[in-house]
Amino acid sequence: MSIVLSDVTKRFGDSLVVSRVSLEVRDGELFVLLGSSGSGKSTLLRMVAGLLLPDSGRIELHGRDVTYLPPQQRGTGLVFQNYSVFRHMTVAQNIEFGLRIRRTPALRRKARREELLDLVGLSGMGSRYPDQLSGGQQQRVALARALAYEPAVLLLDEPFGALDVQTRSQMREALKDIQRRLGVTAVLVTHDQDEAFELADRIGVIDHGHLLEVGAPDDLYFHPQSEFVAGFLGGGNVLAGRAEGRFIRLGSVALPIPEAATEQEEGAPVRIVFRPEFVVVKAGASAPKDGVHSLGRGRVVRRTFAGALERVRLEVQGLQGARPVTPPLEYGQRGTPIEATRPASASEREPLKAEDDVWVGIRSFHVLAPSGLKVLIHVDGSAVADEGAMLGLLLGQAAGGPTTLLAVAEESQQVEEWQRRLEEILKRVGAARSPWLQSRVRIGKTVPEVLAEAQEGFYEIVVVGGPARGDRRNALREELSSRLLAQAQAAVLRVKRARPQLKRLLVCTAGGEPGKRDVVMGGRVARRAGAVVTLFHVDREPVSPEEDVRVKRHLEQGAAMLSALGVQAEIRSARGPVIEKILDESAAGDYDLIVLGAPTGPGSGRYGEIDHMAPVLREADRPILIVP
């Protein structure tokens, strides 16, 4: 193995940039790290080059541990997006720089330089200065400079990002060719999926510092494991339905589960992905052909000309209960959006325009690995936290996602004691440990450790014990909750007393602009738990008729979206003191969970200061889910 990364983690201040990345890059391979900007891909590359030190983890180059070595001793060749060719040196001097540093004899230097000039296609240009070269040529110089001293690995940080489209494709070909010929192991970082497909032997998709999937380009394209990869590579349609025998139920449609798909539990959520080019669109009412799975009838929302392809956005009726993941459901939309592409020849033969009625089918699809809401449960030894654990485990079970019980030990001697405690809790609810249910003990201070775990593990909901009378840990829980909301962007579930079930949800949108994220999150929980939702709105004072209409419309749209998710929803509204009304409603309706949106704007995340959050939290004995 040329490069071995184990559990490499890097933070900048409070934000987690690279999270426990483990990766092996094979000898002679061209590996592409693909991710959007800010995903941590460049940070990872710079750690391999030695320009940054990881906070934890290990980096090996050809079996040598280089984790803490300075860049000079790693022998990597690095090519930057901005070329960074030395301006005051000629092309030849640039290429020879590494050899000069290594005190290579002049004759050998010259021979090597000529060889490399030839290789990168710049023979005869050795005496030029960088400002006499085009961008593409400068990048060729940078490449030759990085290859001159036969580096252990070649690292390229968005090398073609600053070049125009035509030069870029020439450079890709040249790079692939050179890398093959020299057999040098290379890691290239890019956000450009076409570039990744064209160059890579293998691709690693990275998002928010997490290395999500690694595989050959076609494998990742046709058989992605996660929603993100499915949506990021090539754009795709991801729909979520439920397993029903050997079929996947998507509203009124049932698709057979392919042989290759992993075993699906009866009734569990199943997500399928199909590429836009596998969508069959037929105008008129013609019957489905053999080998095409019908999705039913729909209409054309819009069509876009895109050169060789035509993009068609469709809305299909009758898939209610199937949750569209990508393309995302627009707020208030009722049908299911489907993205399709057709070759130009097809659009000429059978032109489509917006509002056309069509028949929609798919030629093939792929089942994603199961995943649900990721739930993290913080146990601190108190009674309320144990109650929280009960409800959190119930939620985790319903949600069908990975659940982790977490305790933080102040010192390493206490780790075993905490582990025993976590075992006890698991035993009490009769849950067995599985890949989907884990327990973990971290060592350190409570707030930063829980925050770190939430960020590293990508948890969507973190369960924290509710405020308890006279508990000295209350302040700590407050701080933890507000930082989780602000920094980890995770929803926080505060529990004083567990509920035996999750059947009735109250989603509150009080005063001001009613939130959307709280409605969506409430919907996701309800959908997974099979609960009914009440959308509840309180106005403090009488409002103008226009405002009233606006709020009503918003609530109706919210309800429509929930029903598109397959969640039964009703709308209620009240007028009067916000806190009192919410408390009254939660008691009267016997709800199992109250969903509140965390206020945004100044003081965002510090919900303790904001009007309705703190008193509701103090007074209500129901579990409260606070959505960032």
């Binding site: 080059a49 030695g50 320009l51 300075p70 860049p71 000079q72 790693r74 022998g75 990597t76 060749g77 690095l78 930057f80 901005n82 960074s84 030395f86 301006r87 005051h88 040196m89 720089f97 590494g98 540093i101 290594r102 200065y129 400002d131 940078a142 400079r145 990085a146 001293y149 690292l155």
Partner: protein, 286 residues
């Protein structure tokens, strides 16, 4: 508000009439009219007065021992100032540009302060520190060390006054050097020192050269701080500008003008050189 001037375009109604090609030249003549008394005539006056008694008068005025000393001394101070500045100015600019530390912005403003301070104030402040009764000077004086009223004092004042010009020439170049420039050198295997010597410094060549010339030019003409710290001692600490002033005060207009003319010519040549250099691409032999 505006009344139509005689040559304003034709009224909007009616067919388009013949218009003058290109914009009016009037503003250009305006600029010349302003600059004539402001810049050109004073410059001309120096040479006119210097040449009044012919070449022989000019040369004899210049060959006075005092005049020769003052010119030589000024050139020496200029070279010394430029040399000291090119080293410490580059160093300060490098640290301010490449290191992140608290108070960096404040320091960046502070080192540029001398350019805004009246030079007389700079001179006074130096006197109050290093002079015989100054904060530090009063301890040095009994030891026989007197930095003021000597070449050392003048050098100190000139370095202080011209430092901002050096920084102003070098720091922008450093700021435009991407971090990746150094990082590339590190990954290739160059140590920090090799990187500075082989990669950073050559890239700064143009900036350092410009800064050095500017320091030299400003040192040559420095008056306010110099008059305070030098003591204006004939044949010991009298720089060319001080000589010009002294001779003028004494009524030796010809002697003053001869040296002034030489100073003007040197400055003019330096300036021309700078202009040409600034336009040239930053390459060693081109």
């Amino acid at each position: 508000m505006e009344r139509p001037s005689p040559d304003s375009p034709a009224p909007i109604t009616g067919p388009p009439t013949r218009r003058k090609a290109g914009p009016s030249r009037l503003p250009v003549f305006g600029v010349l009219a302003i600059l004539l008394p402001l810049l050109f005539l004073p410059l001309a006056a120096v040479f006119v007065f210097a040449g009044r008694s012919g070449w022989s008068g000019f040369f004899s005025a210049l060959s006075q021992p005092d005049a020769l000393f003052a010119l030589r001394f000024s050139l020496l101070m200029g070279f010394a100032t430029a040399a000291v500045n090119s080293v410490i100015g580059t160093f300060i600019a490098y640290v301010l540009s490449k290191y992140r530390f608290p108070g960096r912005d404040a320091l960046g403003i502070l080192v540029n302060l001398p350019v805004a301070l009246p030079t007389v104030v700079v001179g006074t402040s130096l006197l109050l520190l290093w002079g015989p009764i100054g904060l530090l000077g009063k301890y040095l004086d009994p030891l026989g060390i007197q930095p003021m009223f000597s070449a050392t004092g003048i050098l100190l004042a000139h370095v202080l006054v011209t430092l901002p010009y050096m920084l102003g020439a070098v720091r922008p170049v450093l700021d435009t050097l991407e971090v990746t420039y150094e990082e590339a050198a590190y990954t290739i295997g160059a140590s920090r020192w090799q990187t500075f010597w082989l990669v950073i410094l050559p890239a700064l060549r143009g900036g350092i050269f410009t800064g050095t010339l500017l320091s030299f030019a400003h040192s040559l003409g420095e008056f306010g701080a110099t008059v305070m710290v030098s003591g204006n001692l004939r044949l010991r600490t009298q720089t060319a500008p001080l000589y010009v002033f002294a001779q003028f005060e004494a009524g030796n207009i010809e002697a003053a003008n001869a040296v002034a003319a030489v100073l003007a010519i040197i400055s003019f040549l330096l300036f021309l050189f700078l202009q040409r250099f600034a336009r040239r691409p930053e390459r060693p032999e081109a």
